[in-house]
């Protein structure tokens, strides 16, 4: 269920997600939060089992904070994505998988990045990524609309449009869109 979208632009990164939590054929919640900030620089959009995803996000937050304190500087977006995928991978290998598909997006010294990690722990990075049951529909909108020279505002608009399109045709997605934008200027700052 769920539709999440992540887009990178030259000015920063955008995450968008719907607000529906499904319990089988029942709408369990209409106001669920699926985008979580790990800190001011990096955020995660979650699809799959809410409990698994939230636990994973909390664990990633703690591990990131610890590593940053120990070594004296924060993690890059790639390191954050890899940290999460390592946890997911080891769980899968011990027959106790996290039922999640995550979009990890953020800004660091190298600019804006978007990664996805599935429940096997495989990570990939592209200019835009989507996950959840509505992602085939969202990808259609993204493939048509994405431009490399997007501003952050244009990326926000496309991300929202992609999730809205998925909400129209995917019964697992609906009830509104949350959007989070992180500008490049947040890199290595602890803003918000």
């Amino acid at each position: 269920m769920t539709t999440t979208v992540g887009i990178r632009s030259k000015e920063g990164v955008v995450l968008a997600a719907d607000k529906r939590a499904s319990k089988g054929f029942f709408v369990g919640s209409k106001v669920v939060q699926k985008i979580f900030a790990l800190d001011g620089t990096t955020a995660v959009a979650i699809a799959g089992a809410m409990s698994d995803a939230e636990y994973l996000v909390n664990l990633a937050k703690a591990e990131r904070r610890l590593l940053a304190l120990r070594r004296g500087y924060p993690l890059s977006v790639k390191e954050s994505a890899k940290l999460i995928s390592n946890i997911v991978y080891s769980s899968m290998k011990s027959y106790n998988p996290f039922y999640v598909e995550l979009v990890v997006a953020g800004v660091d010294g190298e600019g804006a990045h978007v990664y996805t990690s599935d429940m096997s722990g495989a990570i990939t990075s592209e200019d835009f990524m989507s996950s959840g049951s509505g992602s085939p529909i969202a990808y259609g909108v993204l493939e048509q609309g994405f431009r490399k020279e997007f501003t952050l505002d244009e990326a926000k608009k496309l991300a929202e449009a992609a999730v809205r399109a998925a909400m129209e045709r995917d019964p697992g997605s609906g009830n509104g869109v949350d959007v989070l934008a992180i500008p490049n200027s947040h890199a290595y700052g602890e803003a918000n």
């Binding site: 909390n58 664990l59 937050k61 703690a62 591990e63 904070r65 610890l66 304190l69 120990r70």
Partner: protein, 223 residues
């Protein structure tokens, strides 16, 4: 009997003392002079950095444990850093479990229980005392934890070399309405007073308004 006691120094001796723990405290008193000062509005940690040699970067002595808590220590620096990591892991574990920042009481108890384990068995107790400064729902807090696991709460602590003399300076200059700048000056005076003048000192402060523990640079404090 006496020979037997010597073979098992981790047991009580005939005076009822744990000599290993006493020795650990002695190791702390050989460490660099380290100070904690607290008022209702802030808590300050200050530690003398040594040795300072040309072409060498001074070692870090005041550490961030989590956003709202800082720590410093005196004694074997390797032991201090190990205890520091114990504190950081406990703080983050608390966030994972409760989704809330850890309170100072829970954190110091965690450290105290960890240290206490090492007084029970045939192992070397940590040769380090730690001072924690932080803020939680109960306000600004200052805590000292010793190698035995003993915990003290209070408004001012001094550990390490000549800590008794340093504490005397602080007791003389302490007021509950000290400003951060005045406390910095007092801590500096206390450390330098027992170490023969100008010293490299690292400071860290948490205030009730910022609720963040941050390194303090002395130039800013003097201005």
């Amino acid at each position: 009997m006496a020979a037997e006691m010597n073979r098992m120094p981790f047991f009580y001796n005939q005076e009822g003392r744990l000599v290993q723990v006493d020795y650990a405290l002695q190791a702390v008193s050989r460490g660099s002079t380290t100070i904690g000062i607290k008022t209702n509005d802030f808590a300050l940690l200050s530690s003398q950095v040594k040795p300072t040699r040309p072409l060498m970067e001074p070692a870090e002595k005041v550490f961030v444990v989590d956003d709202h808590i800082g720590a410093t220590g005196s004694g074997y620096i390797g032991d201090v850093t190990t205890l520091l990591d114990q504190l950081r892991v406990a703080a983050q574990r608390h966030r994972v479990v409760y989704d809330e920042p850890i309170d100072i009481g829970t954190l110091s108890r965690n450290l105290s229980e960890y240290l206490h384990e090492f007084t029970m068995y045939a192992v070397r107790p940590f040769g380090a005392s730690v001072i924690l400064a932080g803020i939680d729902h109960l306000g600004v807090q200052l805590v000292q934890v010793d190698p035995s696991g003993t915990t003290f709460k209070g408004s001012a602590f001094a550990i390490g070399q000549a800590s008794d003399d340093a504490l005397e300076t602080i007791v003389k200059g302490y007021r509950p309405d000290l400003s951060v700048e005045e406390a910095l000056a007092l801590a500096t005076q206390a450390v330098e007073g027992v170490n023969g003048g100008k010293s490299v000192i690292e400071h860290g402060v948490v205030t009730s308004t910022s609720k963040k523990f941050e390194h303090q640079n002395l130039a800013h404090a003097v201005a």
